[in-house]
Amino acid sequence: MSVLVNKDSKIIVQGFTGSEGTFHAEQMIEYGTNVVGGVTPGKGGQEHLGKPVFNTVKEAVDNVGADTSIIFVPPAFAADAIMEAADAGIKVIITITEGIPVADMIKAFDYIKDKNCRLIGPNCPGVITPGEAKVGIMPGFVFKSGGVGIVSKSGTLTYEAADQVVRQGLGITTAIGIGGDPIIGTTTKEAVELLMNDDDTECIVMIGEIGGQLEADAANWVKANGNKKPVVGFIAGETAPKGRTMGHAGAIVGGADDTAEAKKRIMRECGIHVVDSPAEIGKKVAEVLG
């Protein structure tokens, strides 16, 4: 078992023939991911990386039964790409694009609300179910299959956590990069909930950073849900100054509740195993799993 993506997912790449799309689609196919085609408006009918190119997402759904999409479309057109995927009936929309205007995301977020789909990202590394499907830009070899679920806002920090888990002789069910933007499709709480309901996930690693309420919301949910599985948590940005954006547009300390300290305190109160050092994530997972 796993969540969101697996070996049966039928994946299309939006922004397929662009340089980013091409590079990462190639890596995904090499990993063994079931990429069934791609979309680039105006290039329908061509073949790219041995897969069919479609003009619209709808055509991809109708012709090759796509149910999952990964978006590499440039920021100015990415919100439209998300809405097109939702309109065409794609179930899982994973948006890698960084730098989408907030106003565009407000509209896309509102549009997909009533559609039967789940948006991951934007500004995220994607989702990987080791050994089955890599729908993202992460280095596949770092992730080995096992019983630990990972939820993270950050790309390289996800790889770091996965690497530490694997070095403990453990592995990963699914790693979900939820993204670092102010508006994201799937929150920490929703991603944790998916993994909490996944039979094969024995432990969840939740990595957050300064800014917003996502980690506190997730922690409160974990507690309210009865702490059914151990959750190991880390919050990056203890040393970040107030009011400055740290790389991710969403990583900015506003009020008193979104500092690293405040988040870690709330998480501890909710029974989450919080580590202060990012070097101890893997060790802590091994410890709580006994």
């Binding site: 590079f23 890596q27 920021p75 100015a76 730098g99 989408i100 205007p101 907030v102 106003a103 565009d104 995301m105 407000i106 509209k107 977020f109 509102d110 830009i137 992460m138 280095p139 770092v142 993270s152 806002k153 950050s154 790309g155 390289t156 920090l157 996800t158 790889y159 770091e160 690497d163 530490q164 670092g180 102010p182 508006i183 990595i207 950073e209 300064i210 917003g212 309420q213 880390f234 990056a236 940005g237 203890e238 040393t239 970040a240 100054p241 400055r244 954006t245 740290m246 790389g247 991710h248 547009a249 969403g250 990583a251 009020g255 690293a260 202060d276 050092s277 990012p278 070097a279 101890e280």
Partner: protein, 397 residues
């Protein structure tokens, strides 16, 4: 991108939001000319001289003063322009004032009492929607109002597909206790303000205070405007409003070469790929007994040229006693990064005088460690995150 008060007001006015009018001056002489012109245009007798810097709390630092005649305009402008203005929001050194806004006096006596309100437009991140936040407690620090009298803060959430509805604008005016002409003016003000926010792709409007004048006009006396950097491509005219003098020069230089750099006060420089890992690395430096001197995300391509540029930028800060490079090689191979570091180090000759600790993990990490270790350079290598922290600690002690 942050704007000056006068720039923010220009944008507001262009969407029909009533503002306290003013003219920018760069020296005392210009200030006097501006004051004369303003009197001719508005009939104002007194003038308010306001320092234009990117920081709030200007009044508290002595950057906002009332001038009752032209001689006072000249004196005050003379004093404020060129000063290092220290406010609760600036560093201890303050910010140099390059220009002032000479503004009309809007607190003139009349038929009714003046009153001040607070109003902001911003994103409610939890809901993914914009909202208008407002309060009867204007002219005060809104964080303080939120803490002491939270019941005096109101919000209107805006449906993205419909926009601000007329009844919402009326509710704002009612909640602020207005009636008659002032009520109608406020409805117009809120409607125009929201339209300005949407059409300028702003990420924050903070108008504190919004003033009801003694003759029942509603206007923005101050304006803090932040625009969404990601949307500036749609607003070339606004993009030109960027005032680089207000930004940290090293950060400006880093941005120009595509590096995401934030200057901090510590003694250990760092170079990391990825924002989350960069923040985690800063935290690790702190736990190892140091203080991070910067945040620096080199992004996905860490080749020799980029690494060299990053080194040069980090070393501009004289407080840097050591540099920690932390790269998790995924798509980018560690051996390439290692070679980049070695080449950059050699290219820079004697420019590097501090110890460098390099932690490369991920694709070809072992090979990368070999390249570093066999380079003959004063660079220490590590593979584990903790190992890197221990080496930082050893270097600092």
């Amino acid at each position: 991108m942050n704007l000056h008060e006068y720039q923010g007001k220009e944008i507001l006015a262009s969407f029909g939001v009533r503002i306290q009018r003013g003219i920018v001056a760069h020296n005392a002489q210009e200030a006097v000319t501006a004051a004369k012109q303003l009197t001719a245009e508005t009939g104002t007798g007194w003038h308010v001289i306001k320092a234009q810097i990117h920081a709030g709390g200007r009044g508290k630092g002595g950057g906002v003063k009332l001038a009752k005649n032209l001689q006072e305009v000249e004196e005050i402008a003379e004093n404020i322009i060129g000063m290092n203005l220290i406010t609760p929001q600036t560093s201890k050194e303050g910010k140099k004032v390059h220009q002032v806004l000479v503004a009309e006096d809007v607190y003139y006596p009349g038929d009714s009492e003046t009153s001040e309100f607070y109003m902001s437009v911003l994103l409610n991140r939890g809901k993914g929607r914009n909202m208008i936040m407002y309060s009867t407690e204007g002219g005060m620090d809104i964080e303080e109002v939120a803490e002491k009298t939270p019941h005096l803060i109101f919000t209107e959430e805006v449906d993205p597909s419909i926009g601000l509805m007329p009844f919402q604008a009326r509710r704002v005016a009612f909640n602020l206790g207005l009636s008659g002409g002032a009520f109608k003016e406020m409805v117009k003000f809120v409607t125009a303000l929201y339209s300005a926010y949407i059409n300028s792709d702003a990420s924050l409007f903070e108008i504190n205070p919004v003033l009801k004048t003694s003759d029942d006009k509603i206007m923005a006396v101050d304006a803090k405007v932040t625009l969404d950097d990601n949307a500036l491509y749609r607003h070339k005219d606004y993009a030109e409003m960027r005032d680089l003098r207000e930004e940290n020069p090293i950060e400006v230089e880093a941005k120009a070469v595509g590096l995401n750099y934030v200057d901090l006060d510590g003694n250990v420089g760092c170079m990391v790929n990825g924002a989350g890992l960069a923040m985690a690395t800063m935290d690790l430096i702190k736990q190892a007994g140091g203080d991070p001197a910067n945040f620096l995300d080199v992004g996905g391509t860490a080749d020799a040229k980029r690494v060299e540029t990053a080194f040069r930028i980090i070393l501009k800060d004289p407080n840097v006693k050591a540099i920690l490079v932390n790269i998790f090689g995924g798509i980018v191979r560690c051996d390439r990064v290692a070679q980049g570091i070695v080449d950059a180090y050699k290219n820079m000759g004697d420019a590097i005088q501090v110890p460098i600790i390099v932690r490369l993990q991920g694709t070809n990490a072992e090979l990368a460690k070999e390249i570093i270790d066999n380079s003959g350079l004063e660079v220490q290598s590590a593979i584990e995150f903790q190992e890197a922290a221990d080496k930082v600690q050893a270097v600092l002690s």
